[in-house]
Symmetry: D2
Subunit: 362 residues, 4 copies
């Protein structure tokens, strides 16, 4: 497959930095960016503890082929806008520090693509899944105006919220969701590294993930909300979630029961999901999968181990679409929490911005 | 702990047989019956393939200390009422054969305590969790009258339905359930042995269990229904279930979201569950746990590996009782699918019958 | 990467069939052959039970993207040389039937590339890992002469034996092994599907795999043996194995302790393994990995989940090369049991034959 | 079962303290001591971070029924001999601090039963498994003389070394071991809590445990060594180990290959292990299992999940005793790393001391 050309008149790739590059999500950013056709990692930043070390010494590489030697040998630097030259930064920072640091970068004129929760629900901060609500990026202008920043913060959503929103977007757009019950079975990688101790999860289920239910409930509504005149109006339906941790490496599985304004049959819902192509302007972006949403006919799918890597981890797989005895439909959705639900989501956000001129100097 | 005396004027234990004794549930019956204060295993029966073999040769013993030598050396016999002398039989038969075989035993005057699904929803067959609806055993009389049997069939419920019903019984009794959403995470032992292939479930979730959702939905309603005048009236509320298989050995975890007629606060619900003691006549039965239902205050319980053996596998543990944004309450319940949800349930049914004279010759 | 051209003067791919195509190894053959540059699947064969069905209906597809529609819709046929037109067959047959069936195919003039154990130890049947002992294919001529077959049987080795032999080949060639102790930790996929019941292996270790220790012990010696004058002389050193099943999906890990004739230091052993390139004539074969053997410097590698897919599952990874207190060296080796250790091994055998004219009509 | 009476003329239980009481091994000490017939927990000590908190607040209780309310409400105190009144302390301290702290307690006249590695190999410190080498406790006198302590330190061995030594003791005593190869598959609980991250071990094997191989190799020799005239002479045979972490909760499985001076047949070895009763003076101690060592006849045992709780976690199970092609015998041993291999071992050490007057004031 030939790579799409760099948008606009650029001759060279955009230089980018990764903040929090040593953690699990930071490593995933590095994996997705090392061969990226539009972006080039020029800086890797992390906490004071890692700063000054070679990236390979500061990082316990978790998965996949280790990065190329040039990346491995790069010195980790501090998460300080004064020492980072790249105009675009991907942030895998922990929420404890992300608030202050990301703001400092945005103030300093950097474009921050963040996986942290801190700014997601700010009214002037886009919370974006490109195929679903890429138009919400228009909030950037309000953000800059209101805050006086020359940079900006754009966030990807919580991993479970992302999987749910991709599955629900076409249904909500066509049939109008009224009520939504979710029950998740989430992979351990969602908790980062070292994350969940094996003694807690081997052969076990933990029916609780701190702060996850409120995040899932509120972010789905913003993701499926409507942008107009400088603000996003929440989708406004009722949401209720159970979130659970299960002994799975990657992939969040979500059982959903849904009530609609305009009640679709299972067949109509399947047809709607299958024909959905997401925001037209995302077509052809390097990280966008051919099918953001796939519906399986198998009676027992999706399954994390078998479906998590669909579309290189960017496709959400839905299955078991069936009538519900109380509301209208039941279905199960699955997506890769580390790719679509974290690093891949922010890379795709950056690509959409790049392709629409949003990263060009103002 | 001293064992409770055998009820009535009996001097000796009741002789019992186990049908399907070589399978996973059959083995659990054997485990629970080998040292039982009221029952004594006199016969072990299984399929033609096993008949004639020593029990230890016919059985791949799955768990726990192997049975005593006397049991191990017993010859397995056929599931034929003509060759089984015991008046009481515990049936762990597969549904494929249970229908005909259990009926033959009941006709032949045997008391059949069945774990199979075949007769559970028959209007004249008791589907019983003693603490919840032990009074439904009164259906036995109708059953005998209607069918002209001198024996009888009494069933325990599906494993998930059992866990749900124990958790819900006090709430339904006091506040009246209107709507119930369930999403289960079920242990592999629920599928028997060999059951779920490891290639299907290691590090995976299977969001489907054949025929489980309808069983769960309908059995909960019968369990929480009301007996009067020779029939059980269904609890009649609306139920909707997702059922999932997870890589857990024993213990079904169920996330529930509940709407009530008379909306309780979480505190009132917890207080109601904690003060519930179940049907009074079950107190003191050998297999009845001190607390059929326990509510945990920990934010992340119940967990299968840590709570499944509460009350020797007969206690259901509930946790995370909290308000719901759409209906009234959310909570998580957990119980041992092989003990409370299968063999232990039928043994307790037999004990309740024994203690009330129901096993005495008519 | 451009595909290597089909060897010789062929203009079209070789037509091939897969025997036992519905099982776990059979599926892997299909995966590896669907886009193969030299071979084209023209027939899928399996047991009577599957014959006549569409491949997709006869198969529970275990892993990876399902095969293309053309394959899915193909009718499964019987494993009968009379109805199979392809001159080359890959056999994933169970040992129970492989003996007779494979012989019938060889008699009928077919080239049988077999994963079954039946003929591996026959003196006139090549047991081959191309990089290690590709020259043993010369046995084919003796086989044909002796048996009067126009076809032939070529076998790949047991999965554990393969991993061990790839790791040991360069060391044995240079330093001469005298004694070898192995202790394996083998993935569940090695037992096929349904294979190991989850109740047996979740959170467990089974320190026994039927018939595995003798297979491992004897096959390593044949693999590392020497071909001359129409026969293979066993490597002849002493071998002793423990084989264990662990809850891992793919990848057999083997701890080895080795005594040599000519005792190498760990550094010399590592250098020898790193500079080893395997049989020269295998270079450039489509399935041959760039590095058949990789030595990791990390203190805690190889690990199945992290290293099993090295070289698309064809690379064996070695680590922890260190001195031994009793013999000379200890090390750990890991390889993909389903690819290098099964289907991929036989495909590479076929490629080596193809590239050297061995598949051309005689 | 009636409890054995407190030895000697004591009317009351010995007051004991647990150091490092909040960790995984500390919790196990608490579990084993709460209902102990001879010892009574009077103090729980841990790091500064926990000191001052209620035990239930300072501890994430990992497993089993939580301790009684009296224990839960006890305030954790510092690991300081000045504030601890109990004359006997069980130490579950981390090796980083155990050295200094345990010495301070011994100097202050306390009896320290330690699970830490720090003093295990000191020539004057007993490293004891009562049934195997309880006579090594005689080193206490030398220790006191040499160090001028009124207290003493007695250690239990590394968890793997303990399992190996119990299995090997009768064989070494009768046939004299010359060479020993071990390959372990160790449970995650051996790494404490939080210990092994789930992302490292789910569906994986880690063929490395820091510092474990040397500990296992040297401790086995001391455990099987001979006490005479104030010193222990190492067993002196050659040992070589591979140690691996596997996704198992509790129970270390060890494959062993053994060469003997006086070569036994498998039958003779089994008979020797079965008739072994361990040091006679341990019979009847409260924590001593009826059979310290059990030999299984099943072809595929021992297995951690099925055998780890034999003898309440104090019995080591051996299986697969068979001839070896290079040395003499191969076998597999399994034991509970947290009970026999850690807390239970030290409690039994204390019981042996108590029963022989060793804990009485001098």
């Amino acid at each position: 497959m030939t790579s799409p050309p760099i948008p606009g008149k650029r001759k060279t790739k955009w230089p980018v930095a990764v903040l929090g590059a040593t953690g699990a999500v930071g490593q995933m950013f590095v994996r997705l960016l090392v061969d990226h056709p539009w972006f080039e990692i020029v800086e890797l930043a992390a906490s004071e503890r890692s700063a000054g070390k070679k990236y390979s010494d500061a990082t316990r590489w978790l998965e996949g082929a280790p990065p190329p030697t040039a990346i491995q040998n790069r010195r980790v630097i501090a998460c300080d806008p004064g020492v980072i030259s790249a105009p675009i930064v991907f942030s895998a920072l922990d929420a404890v520090v992300a608030g202050e640091v990301e703001m400092a970068f945005a103030k300093a004129g950097k474009f921050v693509l963040s996986n942290a929760k801190n700014f997601r629900m700010e009214p002037d901060v886009p919370l974006v899944i490109p195929e679903v609500n890429g138009d919400h990026l228009a909030l950037i202008e309000c953000q800059r105006n209101r805050r006086g920043w020359s940079g900006a913060i754009v966030t990807n959503a919580n991993c479970s919220a992302t999987v749910a929103a991709v599955a629900l977007a076409p249904l909500h757009q066509k049939f109008g969701i009224r009520q939504l019950f979710l029950s998740t079975m989430q992979a351990v990688s969602g908790a980062g590294y070292p994350g969940v101790p094996s003694l807690d999860i081997l052969g076990n289920v933990i029916p609780y993930i701190a702060d996850e239910e409120p995040k899932l409930e509120r972010e789905v509504l913003k993701l499926l909300g409507t942008y107009a005149d400088g603000e996003v109006t929440s989708a406004g339906f009722k949401v209720s979630a159970h979130t659970n941790r299960v002994p799975v490496e990657h992939g969040h599985t979500i059982c959903m029961t849904i009530g609609f304004e305009d009640k679709p049959s299972p067949e109509a819902a399947i047809e709607t999901m299958r024909s959905w192509e997401g925001l037209a302007s995302t077509a052809g972006l390097p990280t966008r999968p051919k099918h953001p949403l796939v519906v399986s006919d198998a009676p027992d799918r999706p399954q994390p181990r078998r479906d998590v890597n669909a579309g290189d981890g960017m496709t959400v797989t839905v299955g078991r679409v069936r009538r519900d005895a109380i509301l209208d439909l039941r279905l199960v959705a699955l997506g890769h929490n580390m790719i679509r639900g974290a690093a891949g989501g922010s890379v795709l956000n950056a690509e959409l911005l790049a392709s629409t001129g949003g990263l060009d100097p103002t």
